[in-house]
Structures are given as structure tokens and as C-alpha cells.
Amino acid sequence: MLAEFFFLLRKAGLKVSITEYLTLLEALRLHVASVSVDEFYFLARASLIKDEALFDRFDQVFAAHFKGIEQLFQAFTAQVPEEWLKRQAQLLLSDEERAKIEALGGFDALMEALQERLREQDGEHHGGNKWIGTGGTSPFGHSGFNPEGVRIGGKGGNRRAVKVWEKREYRNLDDSVQIGTRNIKLALRKLRRFAREGAADQLDLPGTIDSTARNAGLLDIRMQPERHNAIKVLLFFDIGGSMDDHVRVCEEMFSAARAEFKHLRYFYFHNFIYESVWKDNRRRHAERIPLAEIMRKYGPDYRVILVGDATMSPYEITYPGGSVEHWNDEPGQVWLNRLLRHYPHAVWLNPEPEQRWNYTPSVQITRELMGERMYALTLRGLDEGIRGLKRAVPVAPLSVGVD
């Protein structure tokens, strides 16, 4: 029975190793847990799962396996057994509400829509009016306001005794798709390049021993500078307009980058890079910094990260005067091209979901201008982006525009 449970866990995407499984068995043999299933649950969790973000998934597998019920949600396909939903919904809906559902095209239609959405939805969601989660007015989820709503998971107000794993208390911690400051830092860390620069204030032990030996045993102390992360980064953030939806992820990206890089300069732009950017968003019209000055001041050894959704009218990129904010003499693409030619290490991070890129011409143009170095602002995208940032890509001058 336990072996089966073990394989179920692995099937649910929890990387439980044989060592951990054996540890659990040994602990059981030594009577760490008594016969109570609660204690067994705690013991199994402590020995098998090593990340609180995975507790929720573990709870689901545990509940499913030890109640002998089919898996309710499969982490990957997110397909819900219809029977279960029907039963669940019928338990929860009043006759009147069920009549309303009939009016909406019947239960089957609702279920179909639900399964569709479960497939589409790729994260946790609370509030709002479409996705499944808690609160909100979508017909799916729980604690919501839609009368034809289908309750998913939550047990709500009827205070019945619920088993620990059924409480799903760790749901909020499941970060399988979310991006957080810590994850970003971890990804950015891959960009590290250590070098010894600056004042020599550390004892160089091997050097001292070596030179003392050469010195016929007379002590000859050698010092060396401390190791620092020598990577230099220029960050350009798109701000305002369509970027408002992505403020949170950008803030996190920014704070992570600030903590991670000692040599970090950041600038803002709106929609696209033109002849100037700014540092203080409140005084964006008064205090602009010409892009030419940035390129003069910061050498080509800087890595450039542009963060923006690149979602705009294509004219804003390709035509002079295309900017929505001011009159630009030269089209944005000329400026981006100049920037890229000066900085061979550059990537564009796009917070828009990748599957939407193909439907936005401006994203495709930008991507082409970047030499395909556009990555999604998700953990995987960031990882790939950091790898992209490591190699220099020479960019040819544009045929349009004067240079």
C-alpha cells in the first residue's frame, strides 16, 4: 500500500526519492508514529516532502490515496472527473439555483466550460471574475457570489471536522507558476562573475606560504582584494500604460536585481526605447537622460536587460514621430539597434504570456530587432534569458534610418 502511495506521489510530480521512502519505512519500524493516521500523515510529510510549496500537492495525493477515491485534480492535465463535480454541485446547489443553471444551457454546458477553464488556468487565483479560485464572481471556485457557481474544493461555512490534509492549508504556498523575489534572485545569481578588484585587504594564504617558502622561511605576507561579483547590469523598465498589469512582477524583478548586483543602473522608458530615458518616474518630462550619454558612460561590458511587454502600435517602433508621448525624430528601432550594437550582451524580458506574442505584431518586430533574444518573465524564461545574456550577439546595423 505504501509503495503504491510512493509511486502516486512521484506521478503527481513530487520528486520523492527511494532514500526518503526508506527513511519513512524505517521511522515506521521504529514506531516514531503510532497507529493514528494523523501521525502517519505528519511523519510521511516530514520525511518525504522538503518544500512547503509542495505540501498542498502532497495533501491532495494523500487525501486521494487514503480515501480510495480517484485523484481529484491532476497537477498536469487539470482534468476533473465529471462525476465528482456533479455530485459536489448537486450537494451544494438549491433547486432554484439548479433551475437557473438549466437556463444557462444546462449542467453539461457548465461542466464543459469548467473543464475548459481548468485547462486554461495555470495558477492559483483568488478574486476576479473568470478564473477558478476563491472569492470573485466567476461561476467556478468557492466563496463567490455567482448563484450558479460550482464550488470547488473549499468546505466553507459548514464547520464540519475536516482532516488536516483536507484543509489544504498550504495551498497558498504552492508557487509552481508564481515568480517571487527569491526565485528571481536565484536565477539572477547565475549571471555572477567573480573577480578580485579593489583594495587588497584579505590575506592570501597560499600566496603567503608560497612566497615565504621562496623567501627561505622568512615571513612574507601577501594580501589580495576580496572576491566580488563583477557583473555590471543596465536595466530598462517599460513603465505605465499596458505595463500596469505587470507592476508586481516588475517590482519583484527590480528588487531582486538591486539586491543581487552591485553595479546596477536602471532606467525607465515608455513603450519603446527612444533617444532618451529617465530615472525618476515623477520627473520623467523634466529630467531625461539621452541614450547616447548612457552608451558613452557605461561601457560595452555592461549587460543590458530590457523589461517590457512590447505591446503597442507597430508605428511606435518603425516610424519617426511614432512615440505616443513626444515627437521622436528617429524611429525607436534605430535607437534599439544602436543600443544593441553597443551592448552585445542584451536580452528583452516580456511579462506577457509567451503564447500571446505571436498575435501582437509589435512583439514580433521587437523580437526580430533583439535578434530573437526575447524571453518570458517567468522563472524558466528568466533562466533562459540569463543564459542568453552570457553570450555576445553581434547585431547588424539597420538598413533603414540614418546612423
Binding site: K50, D51, K185, T208, L219
Partner: protein, 283 residues
């Protein structure tokens, strides 16, 4: 292997799952990894386990510059070099210049000790990997003297992490894991109870209410945690604030002495703004 069991102490409220993780670690002689929000009593746990089981506590606080080797031993080459220049006799025996680390001390202890490895995530990403063999076999060898140090008793190892870095899988596989969740109101009540016995019930419930209200404020950079709540209650007691004053506060005023709960100026600012808006709406 040991049969000692940890059941919490009179100063430390341990939840059932926490006790299970600790006891599993004690019984199997494996490290217990504790994660959780700052201020939920991770470091405290080791002290309380040591106290409850009456074992000596050895602490190893990790910093960003800490190397795994420092927990085993350090060879003080500079001291030896200096002694050789001065013609000191000690210089002939290299063992004089081996400085023991906390892990060595723990291995060498006559009774089974509790070893706290605090904030392991502060160290370099490779740090836990460098300790794998030592924690697994509970032995290491001293290169300079050729000596092998073996644990007399497998120490009870408690490792805390603030989640600043992800720990390597190979390391995690060898640990029991527990995540200290933020306590719910009932657990919080018993925690406050063991710290301030005889606290007026009304004051406690009002304080807890105000506390959870503040935790609910959206967008706080650092939510107040258990240790901050305890500090705050201490202050409330010291200033002799009445429960009524607290109750008045949760509607449209700032709770007294909120500086103990909110620790940075952005949060205080945000909080004051929210209270201001709330007051304006109430009018």
C-alpha cells in the same frame, strides 16, 4: 539512535506536526530542517529541544562567508608560521594549530548534544553539499593529522533556513523537513499564554484581533510575526494600556505602540494612509 521524545516545553508551544518531525529526526539520527517566516521560533526550537531533553546545545551560526570546513576544523597556518619565526616549541606538533569547529565539538561530546545550524541559507549555495558526507556518516577525517573524527553519539541536528536560497536536493533528501506555519489565532493564544501567563483575557483577545488585522493589511513589506506580537504585548503591559483603548483603536485609530509591529517606514506610512482613508470613509 535514541528514544528521547520532544513534546514541547512550558515556554514553547509545539504543534503536533512539529513534534513529529523533531522526534523522527531524534529517533533516526537525521537532521531536521526547519523553515518558516522569520520570527516564528525556528532558532528557539533548538534551545527548547536541548532544554527539554537536558542535552548540551551547540550553536553554529552561518554567515554569508561561512565555509563548511569551518564547522569541522580550521588549520591556523598563520599562527604556526608566526610560532616558527619565534622558535616556539609548539610548532613541532601540527595538532596544536587545528582549531575545532562546532561539528567536531558535537561529535566529541560525551552525551548526545543538540547541534543548531542556524540560517543555513545564508551561506554559499554549495555549502550544504559540502556537509553531506559528514551529516550522513557522522564522521570526517582531519587531513593535517590523518585522524578520523567519529561521532560518539549521533547529535540531534536542527537546521534552520529562511528560504533565501534553495537547498540542494541531495541535502534535503537526508533531512526531515518541517515548515513552521504562521500560527492560527488559537495557537497564538496559547503561545502568548506561555510567555505572559495571567494576561487579562480581554487585553489578549483585543491585542490578537488588532494584530491579525494588521497582518491583513495588503501590501505590507514585512508582516508582523509571533516574536513581534510578543514584544508588542510586553510593551502594552509595560505601558499599562487598557483593553478598551485597544478596542477603540481597531476601528479608526492607529493601535498604540504599533512601532513594535511594523518595522519599516514604508509599512508604517502605508498603514497610516489606510487608517486615514478608513477614517475619512467612516465619516
Amino acid at each position: 539512535m535514541s528514544t528521547a521524545r520532544f513534546e514541547g516545553t512550558e515556554r514553547y508551544v509545539a504543534t503536533e506536526d512539529l513534534m513529529m518531525a523533531v522526534n523522527a529526526g531524534i529517533t533516526l539520527g537525521r537532521p531536521v530542517l526547519i523553515k518558516g517566516e522569520p520570527g516564528t521560533g525556528k532558532t528557539q526550537l533548538a534551545e527548547e529541544v536541548a532544554k527539554a531533553l537536558q542535552r548540551p546545545l551547540l550553536e553554529w551560526h552561518i554567515k554569508s562567508t561561512t565555509k563548511a570546513q569551518q564547522g569541522l576544523y580550521e588549520y591556523d597556518a598563520v599562527a604556526r608560521l608566526r610560532d616558527s619565526q619565534l622558535g616556539d616549541d609548539r610548532v613541532k606538533d601540527i595538532a596544536n594549530y587545528i582549531r575545532r569547529g562546532s561539528l567536531w565539538e558535537a561529535f566529541d561530546s560525551q552525551v548526545q548534544p543538540v547541534l543548531l545550524i542556524d540560517e543555513i541559507d545564508k551561506a554559499d549555495i554549495e555549502f550544504p553539499n559540502d556537509l553531506l558526507r559528514e551529516l550522513d556518516r557522522m564522521e570526517f577525517s582531519v587531513y593535517e593529522t590523518g585522524e578520523t573524527v567519529r561521532a560518539r553519539h549521533r547529535p540531534i541536528i536542527i537546521i534552520t533556513s529562511n528560504n533565501e536560497k534553495e537547498l540542494p536536493d541531495a541535502f534535503l533528501r537526508r533531512c526531515f523537513f518541517h515548515y513552521i506555519r504562521f500560527p492560527d489565532a488559537d495557537t497564538m493564544r496559547s503561545i502568548v499564554d506561555v510567555h505572559y501567563p495571567g494576561l487579562k483575557q480581554t487585553l489578549l483577545s483585543e491585542a490578537l484581533k488588532a494584530f491579525y488585522d494588521i497582518r491583513e493589511v495588503p501590501g505590507l513589506k514585512k508582516k508582523p510575526s509571533t516574536s513581534e506580537l510578543l514584544d508588542w504585548i510586553k510593551l502594552l503591559l509595560a505601558e499599562d494600556i487598557s483593553p478598551e483603548a485597544l478596542r477603540a483603536s481597531d476601528k479608526n485609530a492607529i493601535p498604540p505602540l504599533y512601532g513594535a509591529l511594523l518595522k519599516n517606514e514604508q509599512d508604517v506610512h502605508l498603514f497610516e494612509q489606510l487608517v486615514f482613508m478608513h477614517r475619512r470613509n467612516a465619516r
